[in-house]
Amino acid sequence: MSDLRSSIERAAPRRKKWPWVAGVVAVLLIAASGFTLTRGGGSGDQAAGDGEPVRGGTLQFALIDYQRSPDPQWGTNYAESLIGNNITDKLTWQDPDTGRITPWLARSWEYNKDLTEFTFHLRTDVTFSDGTPFDSAVVKANFDQYVHGDQKLGILPNGATLLPGYVETRTPDRYTAVIRFDKPLASFLQASSFTANAQPGFLSLSTLKLSAEQRTDPTKVIGTGPFVYQSWKPQVSTVLVRRKGYNWSPPALKHKGEAYLDKIVFNTIPEASVRTGSLESGAIDATLDVGTTDEKSLAGQGFQIIHRAVSGTSIFFNFNSRLFPTNDIAVRKAIQLGWNREALRKTVLTDSYSVATSVLGPSVFGYADYSGSVLRYDPEKAEQLLEKAGWTKGPDGIRVKDGKKLVVKLLGINNLVVNKPAYESIQQDLKKIGVDLQLTVVPIPDYTANVAKAKTDWNITAANRSRNDPAVLNLQYSPLLGNGSYLGKDSTGVDVDEVTKTLGRLELTLDPTERRQYAKAAQDLLLDKYALVNPVYNPSQVIAQAKYVHGIVFDAQSRNHFVNAWKSNGR
């Protein structure tokens, strides 16, 4: 008897808490759905324009990642690139809406016909935060170290993949820099504005002389950007303060003078529920990495959701064209047709995300829409294709050919909250047409470790690549470069030379009409003719911010700039 009582007493608090939590949730949900109905889904890239900007104040910002080093030229995560963008400036600024390259530290530029030499005319009024001038010698020193690294200092060749074939930077005069390559590199123009991982942001000559270890002292990392480092606490926070005298933000941003904010604190908060709760309780002003399920309730409470799709490729399933059974084009095509995009949109994605309609994101120049042709849900046709290719259903519903089961092994990353449920949704659908999709969705380092063995071990690698230029297809899929589909002699039915040539053309011209054609041809090849990739959804960077926060900018790589940001309460 006594035991029963004790167990009831132990259980009681839980039961009491439960309906209370449920009630709060129900109210929030109802409030949220009502709000979104009246508000509509639209939310622009920029939230500026609510009255006159107010100077001063500290922005408390939250995100999931942290900077492993304050060195902006190194990094593979979002925190590293995002903070680097506010410490350093680039030669050019890519317009996030049109994809056009516009001036920044370079006033103007020209290139030779072969696209092997790019001449930049620099602004003359730019200085580093230690007072030293920004000139062509700085550009040269930066690019040399960025591409080659420095073994003695322990600096990695961070830019080697972004600038393949870099030869040298010439400095005909103090404010002219000529960057030369040994083969055509049309995408370099976009690369000069690149703001994602391992970006070409300019560091002072004194910083370039520092070793990797010395660069972990944030006050010694000197850039020309609108903010300067105050402190860096790995895994906890990075604090930036306004750069005095800054007056060279990209003309396209129409921002004059220094940043509005005095200070930005980037707080690393790994747990989704803690980021959301901290925003709700007012401990932070804005947060990136908003959980998809929290978007609605936050909007319902009056927080603003701003987002931009990450430019570059969509989240893709890259098929391994050498490995059984994805060496069979019928299997690849069946997978493209075999999953319900509408169900994915409804259960997993929010308005901030979209189902992929090509391997390129819609914001990338040269994007074409394939949702009417190859990228649609047509399970009957998928099954026909498999039947025709000799795949017959076994007793457990999984198809079999020559005694071998249709088992497709996928390797994915769990860094985006959407990935796992999205893949599971596809897995459910494919099972219905007799394809057993086996998922291994792991953290980035384990993914990286496995990608090294993907050629022989994985049928599908699922990831995305952030680069707002159609040449990303060449980088990702060219058999000479990324070779995302592991094309080779064993890839039955694929003309490898054709792929190499078609994709390679994207680096040969900057003429818009020609480039658009080449981009279309590349997508046709990858999606339709050889079906080397199954695009899934367009990833998005989503920020939830308090009403008094304005002017956080998403750039062409969907990284944030804070030069224009302000708080109407000025605190």
Partner: protein, 291 residues
């Protein structure tokens, strides 16, 4: 004088010989114990024949019913893909119980034997075993498990193996401490006095009288193992989807705790209930043996 001493030496052997009927009668007088047994039996039932307990599929969701709250139709609510969480919990019992059992068996089996040998033989054997144990203890179990899982690859079996391996050391250490305490007891000396051999003393007196502490640890280990698996899931080392596993269900549900708390709390509650029930049973078992 010597004979009663020997009888006294084996106090642990009394209760187990009681007839079954008497046991059931005892059970009826302890409702909490009965409830605990029912919980454990039901969960074992889930693991063996999940179909008897739910008509929903744990893998196929209804996209129209994404994140439905607990109701008569969906007792535990549904997850993001509209899969019934009760069904996932029921089917997940198999994965979880197998993994837990494996982990506890590895830790208990190897750990107890190592601790017994070390404590009883002493000398160089003790030193060798205990230094090895120290090394394993010196690396915190969760970290060791993380490394082991990274090496072996992601699967529930490997996670169980990792958790089991990383707990061997603590069993060995507790067992050894108990053995050391027991060998100084009067009845053990008495047994030697009676001329029994070392192996005989070990099996008849030392083992039964040292085990209760380790069994207590094993009971806790059931919980620890489930939770260690959950922790690994939380840190990103989970069983491959769509396999339902309790720890993973809780770990996945935590992201939605602000808006859809049932997704983490319902499987978490099931997990906690089983751990508490298993513990309750082991406590009563021990008490009975102590009587």
């Amino acid at each position: 004088m010597t004979v009663p001493l020997d009888t006294l030496a084996a106090p642990a052997r009394r209760g187990s010989a009681r007839p079954l009927l008497g046991r059931l009668g005892g059970l009826a007088r302890q409702p909490v114990l009965m409830v605990s047994w029912i919980i454990v039996l039901v969960v074992i039932g889930w693991a063996v024949a999940p179909r008897l307990f739910t008509s929903y599929s744990p893998y196929e969701g209804d996209s129209a019913a994404s994140f439905a709250p607990p109701s008569v139709e969906h007792w535990f609510g549904t997850d993001r893909l509209g899969r019934d969480l009760f069904a996932r919990t029921v089917y997940g019992a198999h994965t979880t119980l197998t993994a837990t059992l494996l982990a506890v068996l590895i830790a208990f089996g190897i750990g107890t034997v190592a601790g017994l040998i070390a404590g009883f033989s002493g000398g160089i054997v003790d030193t060798a075993v205990m230094r090895l144990v120290d090394v394993f203890l010196a690396i915190p179990s969760l970290l060791l498990a993380m490394v082991v899982v990274s090496v072996l690859g992601y699967s529930t079996q490997n996670i169980a193996l990792a958790v089991g391996i990383s707990s061997i050391a603590s069993f060995a250490r507790v067992m050894r401490a108990e053995v050391l305490a027991v060998v100084t007891q009067d009845y053990v000396r008495a047994a030697y006095g009676l001329g029994r051999g070392r192996l005989g003393v070990m099996l008849r007196h030392v083992v039964p009288n040292s085990l209760s502490s380790v069994v207590a640890l094993a009971a806790l280990e059931v919980g620890t193992a489930v939770l260690a698996v959950a922790s690994l899931g939380f840190l990103g080392y989970g069983a491959p989807p769509p396999q339902p596993e309790w720890g993973l269900l809780v770990a996945e549900g935590r992201d939605y705790v602000a808006t859809h708390p049932w997704a983490a709390i319902m499987p978490g509650l099931a997990l906690a209930l089983v751990v508490v029930a298993a513990h309750r049973i082991s406590t009563s078992y021990r008490k009975e043996h102590r009587r």
